[in-house]
């Protein structure tokens, strides 16, 4: 237990000292929220305030940026740098390490969500969500599922070079077609179909239903099922294919 806390602290230190990672995963969703909110936040989207609609979308995008993309990148870079291999020579159990890395990035995501909500309140006068419990449950569910998928993604990325390009090429378009930045209703039909198969659109919808309509998580079993299913698939791939060692050189 003390080892987990020890590693969690170290992970927080490492995250905030890595400026690129902190910028792209933590700061970018906040910057997008400010820009897009100023652009069309005062419009009405799907019968809701544009600000609130966008806030929920940015939290969804934040989950993908931190717990999926950020986690995958961080693990690939450390693996290819031989840092994970070095850890395997110490008595630190592998699961403690993974738990600390995931715990740290999930904490970053929650910090990001709190920052977005606070910023919405301060900058755009968006009301703070009422059923906080349902929101936290939804976010925790999404964070866990995306973290599993992030670890699964490391198994198909073979080298550090170009890893960020690969990760960006996956999560940015998906965030786009999942309606994180705008309503996806005007997008071509086939893009909407693709998005429906993927988990992010369901997660964003779940967050919107909770934040905008005050729904409870369990009122949307379909969306929950999609997120859980993808999370489970990610877990299976991660457990089978996760590597601690860099590619042979």
């Amino acid at each position: 237990m003390s080892m987990l806390v020890h590693q969690l602290r170290a992970e927080q230190k490492l995250f905030w000292r890595s400026r690129e990672l902190a910028f792209f995963t933590f700061l970018l969703p906040i910057i997008f929220f400010l820009i897009l909110g100023s652009a069309y936040g005062d419009e009405e989207l799907d019968g809701a305030s544009g600000y609130l609609y966008l806030l929920a979308g940015m939290i969804g995008y934040g989950a993908a940026a931190t717990t999926f993309a950020g986690l995958a990148l961080l693990l690939v870079l450390r693996r290819e740098a031989g840092l994970l291999k070095r850890l395997r020579a110490t008595p630190l159990p592998g699961w403690v390490y993974i738990a600390a890395v995931v715990g740290s990035i999930v904490f970053i995501f929650f910090l990001e969500s709190v920052s977005l909500v606070t910023l919405g309140r301060l900058a755009f006068d968006v009301a703070v969500p009422e059923n906080v419990v349902s929101l936290v449950v939804a976010l925790a569910l999404g964070a866990a599922a995306f973290a599993a998928m992030g670890i699964a993604l490391t198994t198909v990325i073979r080298s550090a070079e170009g890893s960020s390009a690969v990760v960006n090429a996956i999560y940015l378009p998906i965030s786009f077609i999942s309606g994180a930045f705008f309503s996806a209703d005007s997008f071509p039909r086939f893009l909407q179909v693709v998005a429906e198969v993927l988990p992010l659109v369901h997660f964003i919808r779940l967050v919107r239903d909770v934040m905008i309509h005050g729904d409870h998580v369990w009122e949307h079993p379909g969306a929950v099922a999609m997120v859980v299913l993808w999370g489970a698939a990610g877990t299976v791939v991660a457990l089978r294919g996760f590597r601690w060692e860099p590619r042979e050189r």
Partner: protein, 283 residues
Amino acid sequence: MNAVEVHELRKSYDGVEAVRGISFELRAGEVFGLLGPNGAGKTTTVEILEGYRRHDGGEVTVLGADPRKADASWRERIGVVPQFAELYPNLTVAEHLELFAGYYRRPRPTSEVLGLIGLEHKVGAKARTLSGGQKRRLDLGIALIGDPELLFLDEPTTGFDPGARRAAWETIRSLRSLGKTILLTTHYIEEAQRLADRVAVLRRGEIVASGTPAELTAAAPASRISFRRDGETVVVETEEPTRALHELTEEALREGRELEALEVHRPTLEDVYLSLTEEEPGE
């Protein structure tokens, strides 16, 4: 009991044998050098002993356990300096040592490790600002922080300039005097000669010679005496250099000649190593 026992170890990658049935042992408290050119199987062997790789055949015992089945308490007792591993660029020297110290039940105090690796003046420096030699010393510090009995050093000075190499040798010698058992791989003959109590020369996955550096040179090719006569270099190879030299100088004195550029060349470990690892023509 020996710290490491290796018997008929074999390992192949995709049908290619990297290690072909080697046997050796490390006695507690000694420095054992695994010497060989690149691709001889040194790293494969070490990584099997460290528990990173599974072997295909033979028996391996490290600190009384099979490395593949070893647990955290076994890892408490070993230290590893990998051939290649980066550091956390944004953590300082002290932060690295403190981070890794947290993984062990009884770590060696950070200040002591800093003294051993000679980085006291760099405690607050971020890893990315360190020189190659300083990074390698921090690698060693990380391996030492758990106060291990057995240390694996995989090519610890590759890429060093001669000054940094000498400094690293001093450090490794001081570890030996702490009673650590050390397995050192290197392709520098001088390094093995200066540091190792015993050496095994590895070539294409096989041990082609082993013993103390003195034993290896004793089994070496003959001594060579060379000098110049009429502008040409004359080389005499002999098993009895004292007698041969005496005869040569006696003859020269009698004829009133000078033996120009006279040299007696005793075989070094390098000669032995080169004659052992020399590739046959056509290979």
